[in-house]
């Protein structure tokens, strides 16, 4: 049997557990019995991107041990999936340990969530229902490092009730950039404010993306501005289904009857 491991990512684990739960719900609905290898922690990207390659080595080793035995790894993050795919090899090479280099080369393949859904499972309609106006921000690492292309928007277009609105300047970075958001916070905020302005201009009520790190940044700006726009991870939208309403008449019908009575 294929063993599929969920790499929930450290930021989702600690700050956005609902995204992890949504991935579990979604994958189970699609017949994938996903595991959560409890030894996992963080992919090491914060260290690598700050220049601390040596400090990332124990995290790469931990990742390899945690997911040993899995046939595939699914991550609800373009950035963390990209880090495992492109940075673990660099960390191993710089460590000067040929054993680590070989181990990284032999590690299970990591898929960003939409890659797994569209490429491996071959689905775009995941049976989701979300009757809201949303706009989608393609995060830089999913767009340019992984090249997920139109997979996320194909999945979104198949969601019943959902209206997908085009985001102007969508491909431009939101300004998060990991430690960039702290080291160069004012440039980061200038970029984020432009992204938030475009989001507000769409009239969407929800900004959706495949990376909670970027959403934490843009969402932090949007909520500070009291914009009334919320942010959601793509998995949380795909996990939602139409509520089953019990009884002979549907709730909506009963409400309309009630309205009619008042009118009389």
């Amino acid at each position: 049997m294929t063993r599929v491991g969920l790499m929930v990512t450290c930021i989702n684990d600690a700050l956005f557990p609902d995204t992890g739960k949504a991935v579990v719900t979604l994958l189970r609905r699609l017949g994938v019995d996903v595991e959560f290898p409890a030894a996992q922690t963080c992919c090491g990207q914060p260290m690598v991107n700050t220049g601390y390659f040596a400090e990332a080595v124990p995290l790469v080793r931990n990742h390899l041990e945690a997911f040993a035995g899995c046939d595939a790894i699914i991550a609800p993050s373009g950035s963390c999936a990209g880090s495992v795919r492109h940075q673990h090899g660099l960390v191993a090479e710089r460590s000067g340990d040929p054993g680590l280099v070989r181990a990284v080369e032999g590690a299970p393949p990591v898929y960003e969530l939409t890659e797994y859904l569209v490429d491996v499972l071959g689905v775009t309609d995941v049976g989701a229902y979300f009757p809201h106006r949303v706009t989608y921000h393609p995060t830089c690492h999913s767009l340019r490092m992984l090249g997920v292309g139109d997979r996320p928007t194909r999945l979104l277009r198949a969601v019943r009730g959902l209206t997908l609105l085009d985001l102007p300047g969508a491909a431009e970075c939101c300004g998060f950039g990991g430690t960039f958001a702290m080291k160069n916070s004012e440039t980061s905020i200038a970029m984020g404010n432009d992204k938030a302005r475009h989001v507000r201009g769409t009239g969407a009520e929800v900004l959706v993306a495949g990376d909670n790190s970027c959403l934490m940044h843009v969402g932090g700006l949007l909520s500070r501005q009291r914009s009334g726009v919320r942010v959601m991870h793509l998995a949380e939208i795909l996990a939602q289904t139409e509520p089953v309403i019990e009884g002979p008449g549907r709730a909506a019908d009963e409400r309309s009857v009630g309205t009619a009575e008042v009118a009389r």
Binding site: P17, V24, N62, N184, S185, T187, M191, G220
Partner: protein, 495 residues
């Protein structure tokens, strides 16, 4: 490298001032988006663009692998064609060679073709110190020079100026440097260009010595190439008696046929044109035609140090098109001066620290961090320089250099070490998450609910203020994902 930017503060501080300059923000946003659109259109119409990029990358990589051989071949070809070849290890040597040539011809002025290499070595400053005026003849360089300003873009050095500002500079300064601008000058682009043309013409006709760079230098034939838009280059390369070209050693191409690839890649990436208006090529001296004394100064100035780094050396593939600047969201908002170098933007962030030496000064060391690693630069680079990869690599070099230089670890060193220790074990990570969850619950009186139901904190003092001054802070979840999974058997017991 050049001293003209000496005193520029570290990138975050320089950027802060630029971000507050409303005129600069407006000028840059307008100019970069215009060039971006033009580039996108003309690149989009080339079906084999990706193959061209791969070919450009391969040619440049071949050059770098066999650089000594191609340079010696170039020297032989140039010498055979009647040119004099000089070798300069650094800026001081290169400047001394050029000053010496100008002095031998008793020149008190020279005309210049726009050139990054001569900007890099601050040749104008060296000439001025020797009592020789160097007149920039490229329109944008002229604007920068007249305005006593610094260049802020590789292709469009005056990109930070709009036409109203340019008109004022021309009216105020042109008369001091030669033919004055007409008193009724407007900010109409055609009128501004005409004023520059009038001003420059007398300099072209008078100067005995011209100074240029070169976009390419063909080893096989000894042919140098300058690609330009205004015709000022053609004037400088043909009218004066003496021509001196300062050429970075990485500019060499193996064969004339390689120009075929490069001349397709460069204009489309650079100005967003199918072909640039003027492409000048010259091979040493042609008797009775053009300059009769031709010098080529081959400049190292840190390039061999860059070549020694297997990851960093790809920066030497750069053909100075500036496509990476025009797509960079950081450059668009902070402008070129924030980078404290004649090479701004993404390419500057990887080239400047390497040419100056990582660990040599805090300003250069701040440059590899001046990026969100969004990758837009790599996507447009005509010679496929993986700028994000080099940025991350150089961050590693910066951290190493600082560890070597000081036994006392920095706050960042300690934070990364602590994070590495915590995050290399799931038990320690879980414990930290529990503590954070408790902290989050304790902070509940301070939080409010953001749209969607997440608890967030507003502005908080201390080290988190860099984040929280403008962005709400998410509060750690009371129950982490791993706790939820353990408690509910992966959600199976919940329902």
């Amino acid at each position: 490298m050049s001293g003209t930017f000496l005193g520029t503060p570290k990138f975050p501080d320089a950027a802060r001032a630029a971000l507050e300059d409303s005129q600069l923000r407006r000028n840059l946003a307008h100019a970069t988006s215009t060039i971006r659109t033009k580039r996108g259109t003309v690149v989009g119409e080339v079906e084999e663009w990706e193959q061209l990029r791969l070919a450009g990358e391969a040619i440049k990589d071949r050059v770098l692998r066999h650089l000594p051989d191609y340079l010696e071949q170039l020297e032989r070809s140039l010498t055979a064609a009647g040119a004099t070849v000089h070798w300069a290890r650094d800026a001081a040597e290169a400047n001394a060679i050029v000053v010496d040539i100008a002095r031998r011809h008793e020149a008190d002025e020279v005309v210049k073709v726009k050139s990054m290499a001569t900007q890099e070595i601050d040749l104008n400053g060296a000439l001025e110190a020797a009592g020789i005026h160097a007149w920039e003849t490229d329109l944008a360089e002229l604007i920068v020079q007249l305005g006593d300003d610094l260049p802020s873009h590789i292709l469009v050095p005056a990109i930070h100026r709009n036409r109203a500002e340019i008109r004022e500079i021309f009216l105020r300064e042109m008369g001091k440097a030669g033919k004055a601008a007409p008193a009724d000058l407007t900010d109409e682009p055609r009128r501004l260009a005409a004023a520059a043309r009038e001003h420059l013409r007398e300099k072209f006709l008078r100067a005995k010595v011209a100074i240029s760079g070169a976009n390419f230098a063909v080893a096989e034939t000894g042919t140098l190439t300058v690609v330009e838009s205004e015709g000022n280059g053609r004037m400088c390369l043909t009218l004066p008696e003496v021509l001196v070209s300062v050429v970075g050693i990485e500019k060499v191409l193996p064969t004339f046929a390689d120009l075929d690839v490069m001349l397709q890649l460069l204009p489309r990436s650079s100005t967003g044109e199918r072909m640039n208006p003027y492409t000048s090529t010259w091979t040493g001296v042609t008797p009775g035609d053009g300059p009769q004394e031709v010098h080529v100064v081959l400049l190292d100035n840190g390039r061999t140090d860059v070549l020694a780094d297997p990851t960093g050396r790809q920066a030497l593939r750069c053909i100075r098109c500036s496509a990476c600047l025009n797509v960079c969201p950081v450059y668009e908002r902070t402008g070129g001066h924030s980078y404290g170098s004649v090479y701004p933007g993404p390419i500057g962030a990887i080239l400047t620290p390497q040419l100056r030496g990582v660990g040599s000064d805090p300003q250069s060391d701040s440059l590899p961090y001046a990026s969100s690693l969004c990758g837009a630069c790599f996507e447009v680079c005509p010679v496929r320089i993986d700028i994000p990869e080099v940025l991350v690599h150089l961050r590693g070099e910066v951290v190493e250099a600082h560890k070597q230089a000081s036994r006392i670890p920095s706050v960042q060193d300690m934070a990364m070490k602590a994070a590495s220790w915590t995050l290399s074990s799931s038990a320690r990570t879980g414990a930290a998450e529990k503590a954070a969850g408790i902290g989050g619950r304790l902070a509940s009186k301070l939080t409010r609910t953001a749209p969607g139901g997440h608890s967030v904190l507003g502005a908080v003092p201390g080290p988190a203020s860099g984040w929280s001054d403008s962005r709400d802070v998410p509060v750690p979840a009371p129950e982490s994902f791993r706790q939820w999974w353990a408690r509910t058997n992966g959600g199976r017991d919940e329902a």
